[in-house]
Each structure stands twice: as structure tokens, then as C-alpha cells.
């Protein structure tokens, strides 16, 4: 099976507007944030850092990840780790589609998946916007 599945992260229509399940409920941003803390602490310790000061996250437009929710959990979960107080930087990558019929690349408007603007084709491929990774961290020795 294709392996991009977990990283094409969801809910295009609402990706930048509201949390998926309500901010005080459990939701997928909690385990996601735990994972970010784990990765940053691991890389920080490997580099013998005294403290991690900044995290640079790359998140595609198609990710159903709400920045505010990650920040909300981050402030709680990063406490008492070398990441405590670190700043989160979110770089959102706009989604891009490619029409497989006329080979035209196009962006999506306001999060809506749309047919090809040239031929109205529905055979499309997502070429960008599925990113979901921690790109780098800043540390203090």
C-alpha cells in the first residue's frame, strides 16, 4: 500500500480555521505534539544541547493540523524538558495539483479541491501540500 497516507493530512476545507474536535477535547494534535517533543528532545540531546530554543515545522496546506492546537499542547507537554519555552515556527506549504490530462499545475482556492481550471478534468495528482515534518531545531550549547 502507498505510504503517503498518514502525511496527507486532512480536512482541506477547514485546515486553517478551527480545531478538528474542539480545543479542550482529546484530538490528534495531542499525540502529534507528543511526537514533536520526542523528536526535538532526541535530536537536542544527541547534539548535547542545554536547551532547544526554536523548532521549525513544515506543514502542507492539506494537513489537518491546527497550529494553535499544537501550540496549546506544546506549552504543556514541553514543560520540564530541554524544549521548555522553545518557540514553534510553522511554515505552511501551499497545495499544488497537477492535471493528468493537460499537464497543467494549479493551486487550490480556499482549501477546495477543484477540477482542472483549463479542461475541467478530474484526473489530478497532488504534487505539493502533504508535507508534515520537523525540519530543524535551534539549540543552545
Amino acid at each position: 500500500m502507498v505510504s503517503w497516507f498518514p502525511y496527507f493530512l486532512q480536512e482541506v476545507a477547514h485546515f486553517d480555521t478551527r480545531p478538528a474536535c474542539g480545543i479542550l477535547n482529546s484530538m490528534h494534535e495531542l499525540p502529534i505534539t507528543e511526537s514533536i517533543v520526542e523528536i526535538a528532545v532526541r535530536y537536542g540531546k544527541e547534539a548535547k544541547a542545554k536547551r532547544v530554543t526554536d523548532l521549525y515545522l513544515i506543514i502542507g496546506q492539506l494537513a489537518t493540523v491546527v497550529d494553535e492546537s499544537i501550540q496549546f499542547y506544546w506549552d504543556i507537554i514541553s514543560k520540564d524538558t530541554i524544549c521548555e519555552g522553545a518557540r514553534l515556527h510553522f511554515e505552511r506549504i501551499p497545495a499544488q495539483l497537477l492535471c493528468l490530462d493537460c499537464n497543467i499545475p494549479y493551486n487550490i482556492e480556499r482549501g477546495n479541491m477543484t477540477t482542472c481550471p483549463q479542461c475541467d478534468g478530474i484526473r489530478v495528482k497532488v504534487t505539493q501540500g502533504e508535507e508534515f515534518r520537523l525540519d530543524s531545531i535551534n539549540i543552545e550549547d
Binding site: L9, Q10, V12, S35, L100, L134, D141
Partner: protein, 225 residues
């Protein structure tokens, strides 16, 4: 000779996928299923789309030809596992205690409670939700989405991630089509945009319509596992 003092703060490249840990565990789950020769599917849908009813009908359709284990994820209660057990599966309930999806860790815990080699098919019923479960691969062989007609024909457009990430789509409650303004062409166009040539099974749990094709598809995969 003195070691040069490291610049501080300095930037460390990471470039690690954020859900890498879950994906690794999912791979381990997959290996366990493969070693046991069991075909596993992860069934996702919104609440009320008919996940448990489809499981019941599927068990009936398989007619005892295969040994089936069912793992039911829910925020609370064992209602779904009880129904799967009554329909003939060995059922395990996972109560997520508020978590809105299953993940690979939860599935691993449930797999440990099963004597896997004695089963042919594993049905994992995820928590009813069209958003969060799509983010967490479990390690099953196929991800299945059940859409039901009363939910509306706009759902592929509104939940593209879920529709993109699945390997088969069951369209349930088609017996209600005459009573509901559901434009199948509009729905299918959305599905095609997101997941070209996705295999779909229009079914009705009430009339049994369409289940033969779904059962045939499923049996072909069980026999390959």
C-alpha cells in the same frame, strides 16, 4: 589545541516525519499480521455511517468460511464489540477514553490479546470520525471508508484527507437514495478527484444489496494473505 567553541544558538537539521514513530509501530503490526497469515482491514467512517452493521453483514456473508477477529475502537462502551461477537467474530473492545482515533500503539495492545495465527481476517473498527483516524496508520493491509448516503454527497469535498487515504469505499444505505437528495455523480466526481479509480461498493445493510461484490473482493484478499 583548543576545540572551537560551538556557535550558540546553532541550527540542527532534523527532517523527520512527525508521525514516524506511529508509522514504525504500524509496520511492526503489519509484520505480525503477515507472519500470522491474516488479512487486516481498518474500517473508518463518521458516527452512524454503519460500520458495525457492515461488519455484521460481512460476517454473515462470509458464512463461517473464515475465522474472524474484530477489534472495536470506541470512546466508551463495548456495544460494538458485543455486536461483532454476536455475529460470530472473536471481538476485542478498545476504549480510547476520549481519544478520537485508534493508533498503532492501541492496535498493538489489542493484537497481543489475540492468538493471531488462528484467524484469517482482522476487522478493525476505528472510532467514528472522518478526520483524526486518517492521520494514524495502524498497520492493517487496507484502509476502508464507509460513506453513507444520508451524510450527504459533499463529504469527499469536505473530508479530502480521509477520501484520499483509503483503498476501498463502501457506500452504505443506498436503499435510502429514493428519499434523499444525494447526487451520486457529484459524490463520485469528488471521490475521483481525490482518489482516482478507487474501488467502490454501493451497499445496503437493510436489503443486503451489493454485499456480494464486497464479499468477493474481501475473500480474494483473505485468500492471498
Amino acid at each position: 589545541m583548543t576545540t572551537p567553541k560551538p556557535q550558540t544558538p546553532r541550527n540542527i537539521p532534523v527532517v523527520e516525519k512527525i508521525l514516524n514513530a506511529n508509522e514504525q509501530l504500524a509496520n511492526e503490526n503489519r509484520q505480525r499480521l503477515d507472519q500470522a497469515g491474516i488479512f487486516g482491514i481498518n474500517i473508518m467512517a463518521s458516527p452512524g455511517a454503519g460500520k458495525t452493521s457492515v461488519i455484521e453483514k460481512t460476517l454473515a456473508g462470509l458464512g463461517g468460511r473464515f475465522k474472524v477477529a474484530a477489534i472495536d475502537g470506541d470512546v466508551a462502551t463495548s456495544i460494538d464489540a458485543d455486536r461483532a461477537a454476536a455475529a460470530g467474530a472473536t471481538a476485542i473492545q478498545i476504549n480510547t477514553g476520549g481519544e478520537c482515533h485508534l493508533d498503532a500503539v492501541m492496535l498493538r495492545g489489542a493484537l497481543q490479546q489475540l492468538d493471531l495465527p488462528q484467524f484469517d481476517l482482522l476487522l478493525v473498527e476505528n472510532v467514528g470520525n472522518l478526520i483524526c483516524p486518517a492521520n494514524f496508520q495502524l498497520g492493517t493491509h487496507k484502509n476502508i471508508l464507509i460513506a453513507s448516503v444520508p451524510e450527504g454527497d459533499d463529504k469527499p469535498y469536505k473530508y479530502p484527507g480521509m477520501y484520499r487515504g483509503v483503498d476501498a469505499l463502501i457506500i452504505n444505505k443506498i436503499d435510502l437514495l429514493p428519499y434523499i437528495p444525494f447526487n451520486m455523480d457529484y459524490f463520485r466526481k469528488g471521490v475521483q478527484l481525490l482518489n482516482p479509480d478507487l474501488v467502490t461498493f454501493p451497499v445496503s445493510c437493510m436489503t443486503g444489496e451489493g454485499f456480494d461484490k464486497w464479499i468477493t473482493w474481501l475473500m480474494a484478499h483473505i485468500q492471498k494473505a
